[in-house]
Amino acid sequence: MQPEFDLVIPQSLHQALEMLQSSPAPARPLAGGTNLVVDMRSGRTISAALINISDLPELQEIQVSNGELMIGAAVTIASLQKNPLVRQHCQVLVQAADVFANPLIRNRATLGGNLADASPAADCAPPLLALDAEVELANISGCRRVSLADFFIGVRKNALQTGEILTAVYIPVPATGMSSAYYKIGLRKADAISVVSSAVSVKINDTRQVEHARIALGSVAPRPLRAVQAEACLRGYPLTAQTIKDASALAAREASPISDLRASADYRRKMVEVVVSRLLGQIKAQLKVQE
């Protein structure tokens, strides 16, 4: 199917936001197109106008300032893999990028696009949720920041309002003593939509107690989410085999997976427990090494 639409090429973010407002509705930003082109050709998404943001310089930056790592929305997944700042401060995001689709897709797909698509299986979501990321949403009048957790509203539903574009992701630079890990279960080694994915982040204090914990899950609920009860049960105690077991079991209960062509709900729920347990075990080992 060859859908009809107008494709406009703005030269700046400001022009893009103007075009988004003035174009016939529905108008959408287009970056890598790795989801959008497929959806438009299948008729799943209809647009009257696409506004090309893939080359806007304002959306390509990666920098650290004020204790935050800022990644522009049009940064490709391939660029994330290679960027020294992302590798230094956000290893779990690199780990997700390494298993994101395949190298050809990674050369076009963007961080902003992956988040805005708001699939419950979005590979970049669990790492960013585990690191308390925020997204910047801009319109012609200004911009606002929203926590990533609040950005995901439902299956492929996000908090973007008409006239808004996701322009950047902000990640607090992890404190020393914080350790993170990520794992994705897929049905093959590449090009796999995740069956279950998780990113976990833990900080222990001087008395070896867990001060901070984040357990983020993908593909087991209508949106990527944090297992907040599991997180709470870790806080204030040392990380032991027992607390890991309890937290993993709780995380599995906080998931609400469905059965689909990739896996049954039962399997997914069981795998949440297995994956979270492994990741916490990995973190326990990592933190010991830091001692």
Partner: protein, 164 residues
């Protein structure tokens, strides 16, 4: 919808072509400009048969709108050698027997070039990972990996000779 004129440099030839906004790079390469070496496999970014180098990076041309590529440099498999003068990678695929129906081959040749440009001595694991977006239904990939290894070797030998 009005057509617009875009510029593409393909295999070092400049082209100016009128395209519709909704035309993908794949369609424009094949249908407007006659580059039939770029194959249409799935037209949804799953198979890699349509792989071209876009400003040096291997991408699925079925997922790029031609207008997004205005001003870009594109390499297709035909730009890497011909039947009479095959390039090193193409010759390696032929020598090893790494093609059966040949439909995936142009895309693989492009991805291989991108890999070896960035990593001249890839391990088998790195080769398989780099080619993971190019599907082959015929060969089982074994000889393809071998072809890439041989191409890497031959390119390294050429490079050494050129340095002398």
């Amino acid at each position: 919808m009005q057509p617009r004129i875009i510029r593409l440099t393909i295999n070092q030839h400049s082209h100016q072509v009128a395209v519709m906004p909704n035309a993908t790079l794949l369609r424009v390469l094949r249908e407007n400009l006659g580059y039939l070496d770029v194959k249409n496999g799935c037209e949804k970014g799953d198979c890699g048969a349509c792989t071209v180098l876009l400003n040096g990076k291997p991408v699925n041309s079925c997922l790029v709108f031609a207008c997004q590529a205005d001003g870009a440099e594109i390499i297709t498999a035909a730009g890497m050698g011909s039947l009479d003068h095959p390039g090193v990678i193409q010759q390696s695929f032929a020598d090893v027997g790494a093609a059966q129906c040949g439909y995936c081959t142009p895309g693989l040749v492009i991805t291989t070039k991108a890999l070896l440009d960035e990593n001249p001595e890839p391990s088998e694991e790195q080769i398989r990972e780099a080619l993971s977006g190019n599907l082959c239904r015929c060969t089982g990939y074994g000889l393809i990996v071998k072809a890439v290894q041989i191409a890497a070797q031959r390119l390294a030998e050429r490079h050494e000779e050129a340095q002398r």
